[in-house]
C-alpha cells in the first residue's frame, strides 16, 4: 500500500484498485477537499470507462504499433530530429575534411615538373645564406676520396667528387665561400633554382653525387650545403627574411684548402 493515497488516483477511473486501495483513497478524500474535488472529476471518467465497449475502444488505440508506425513515431521525436541533424552535420564535416585531405595530398604528390618552378637566388640571398651559422641535422656533405676530419688539400682547378645526403623531399643548393671572400653558387649552376630532391620511398635518405671544380685561388674554401623544406621558396623571401627562415634550414659546411700552384 502506498503511503500517499493521491498516488492511487490513476487507478480509480479504470477500477484498477484493490478493495484496500480503494478504501484508503476514499477515506483520505473525506479529509482532503482537493482530493475529493479530483475524485469528483475522476468519477465522470470512471463512469465513461465502466462501459466495456468504451474500454475496448480506448484499448484499440493503445495496441502496440506496427513497425511502420513505430518508425514514424521515432521520426517525430525531438531527440530523433536532433540526432539526425548531428549525424548530417558530422557527414558534412567528414566530406569536407576528406576533400581537403585529398586536395592537400594531390598537391603534395605533384611531380616536380608540374610544381611552380622555384626561382633562382640572387647574390644577396647567397650572401645571407653564407653568413648564417651552421645548423640543423639530417644532412651530410662529404668529399669522396678524402678522409673526414682534417680539411683536405686540393690543387687549384681540381675536380672534386662531392656526396650530398639529405632526407628528402627537400630543396637543396651548394654554396662556395672562396678565399677572396666571394660567395658563389656551386650547385646547381649559377642562375639556376635550388634542386628539388624526392625520395624513392618515404624515410629513405637521398644520396646525390656531383662534381665541382675547386677554386683557382689558393687558400681556404668553404662549401655550404643549404637544405630547405619543399614549401619554402627562398627566392620568394626577401634577403632580410632569410634570417627568419633560418630555423627551418639545415646548413652543413665542408672546408678544403687550395694549394698554391
Amino acid at each position: 500500500m502506498t503511503g500517499d493515497p493521491k498516488q492511487l488516483l490513476g487507478g480509480y477511473a479504470t477500477d484498477s484498485l484493490t478493495d484496500a486501495e480503494r478504501q484508503d483513497l476514499l477515506r483520505a478524500a473525506l479529509d482532503d477537499q482537493a482530493l475529493f474535488d479530483t475524485l469528483v472529476e475522476e468519477e465522470g471518467l470512471r463512469e465513461l470507462l465502466a462501459d466495456p465497449e468504451a474500454r475496448q475502444h480506448v484499448l484499440a488505440q493503445l495496441e502496440p504499433p506496427d513497425g511502420w508506425e513505430r518508425f514514424r513515431a521515432w521520426l517525430r521525436r525531438p531527440a530523433t530530429v536532433a540526432d539526425l541533424l548531428t549525424v548530417a552535420a558530422a557527414l558534412v564535416v567528414a566530406v569536407v575534411a576528406q576533400q581537403v585531405y585529398q586536395a592537400t595530398r594531390q598537391a603534395r604528390d605533384l611531380p616536380a615538373a608540374t610544381r611552380p618552378a622555384p626561382r633562382p637566388l640572387s647574390q644577396a640571398h647567397l650572401d645571407r645564406l653564407a653568413a648564417l651559422p651552421p645548423s640543423g641535422s639530417g644532412a651530410e656533405l662529404a668529399l669522396e676520396g678524402y678522409p673526414a676530419g682534417t680539411p683536405p688539400r686540393v690543387s687549384p682547378g681540381q675536380t672534386l667528387a662531392i656526396r650530398v645526403t639529405v632526407k628528402a623531399p627537400a630543396r637543396v643548393l651548394l654554396l662556395e665561400l672562396r678565399p677572396d671572400g666571394r660567395v658563389a653558387q656551386a650547385w646547381p649552376a649559377p642562375g639556376e633554382a635550388p634542386v628539388l630532391l624526392f625520395a624513392p620511398q618515404s624515410a629513405t635518405p637521398v644520396v646525390q653525387r656531383l662534381s665541382h671544380v675547386a677554386s683557382s685561388l689558393p687558400g681556404t674554401c668553404r662549401l655550404r650545403l643549404v637544405v630547405a623544406p619543399t614549401d619554402l621558396d627562398l627566392a620568394a623571401a626577401s634577403p632580410d627574411d632569410i634570417e627568419r627562415a633560418a630555423p627551418r634550414l639545415t646548413l652543413v659546411d665542408l672546408t678544403y684548402e687550395t694549394e698554391r700552384p
Binding site: 502506498t2 493521491k6 498516488q7 492511487l8 488516483l9 490513476g10 487507478g11 479504470t14 477500477d15 484498477s16 484498485l17 484493490t18 486501495e21 480503494r22 478504501q23 476514499l26 477515506r27 478524500a29 473525506l30 479529509d31 477537499q33 475529493f36 474535488d37 475524485l39 469528483v40 472529476e41 475522476e42 468519477e43 465522470g44 471518467l45 463512469e47 465513461l48 470507462l49 468504451a54 474500454r55 475502444h57 480506448v58 484499448l59 484499440a60 488505440q61 493503445l62 513515431a73
Partner: protein, 192 residues
Amino acid sequence: MGLGYSRSRTTMGELSRERTLTRDAALASLRLRILSAARRRLSPADAEDLTQEVLLLLTTKYAEVEDPAQLVALGLGILRKKQADLWRKSARRGEASAQDATEVPLAHGGPLPDTVAADRARLRLFAEAAARLEGRCREILRRKLEGLSFVEIAAELGRPVNTVYSWDFRCHQRLRTLLGDRWSFVAGGEER
C-alpha cells in the same frame, strides 16, 4: 485523520453506538466536501440544493451503508449524476421548471440522445489523448484497461508496486496535461 473511525470496541452496544457515530461523522464530513465541490461548479443556492439531495439519498436509500469509504463512493456517484442532470436541465430553456426530463423514459428505454453524443465525444477525446501516451505510460494504461490491478502490473513489469504507483500517478498527470482544457469535459463536466 481528522475524524477518526476507530473500531476497537468490545461490547455490542458500544460497537453499535460507535458505528452510528462513525456514520454520522462521515456524513457530516462528506456534506462539507460535497458542498465545497459543488460550489466550484454551481451557484451557492444550486450547490446547497444539490448537496441536500445527495445527503437525502444517502440517509434514506442507503441508510444501511456504514463504511465511510463506501459512503464517499456513493456520494461521488450521486453527486456526479445530479450535477449532470442539473446541467442538462439548465441547458434546455424552460425545462428547469417543467417535469424532469431525465425521469421521462424514452420509447426505447435507452439513454438520452444528447447523453450518448456527449459520451461519444468524451470517449473520442480520451482515446486520442491515450494514444499519444508513450512508453511505460502507454503500457500501464493498457494493462489497467485490461483489468489488471497495480500489484499485477508491478509483477508483470518486474518492479515494486510503490514504483508503479509513482509511475502511474505521473502518467495520469501526463494524460490530463494532454487533454488540457478538454479534461473537464471528458471528466463529465459541461461542454464548452
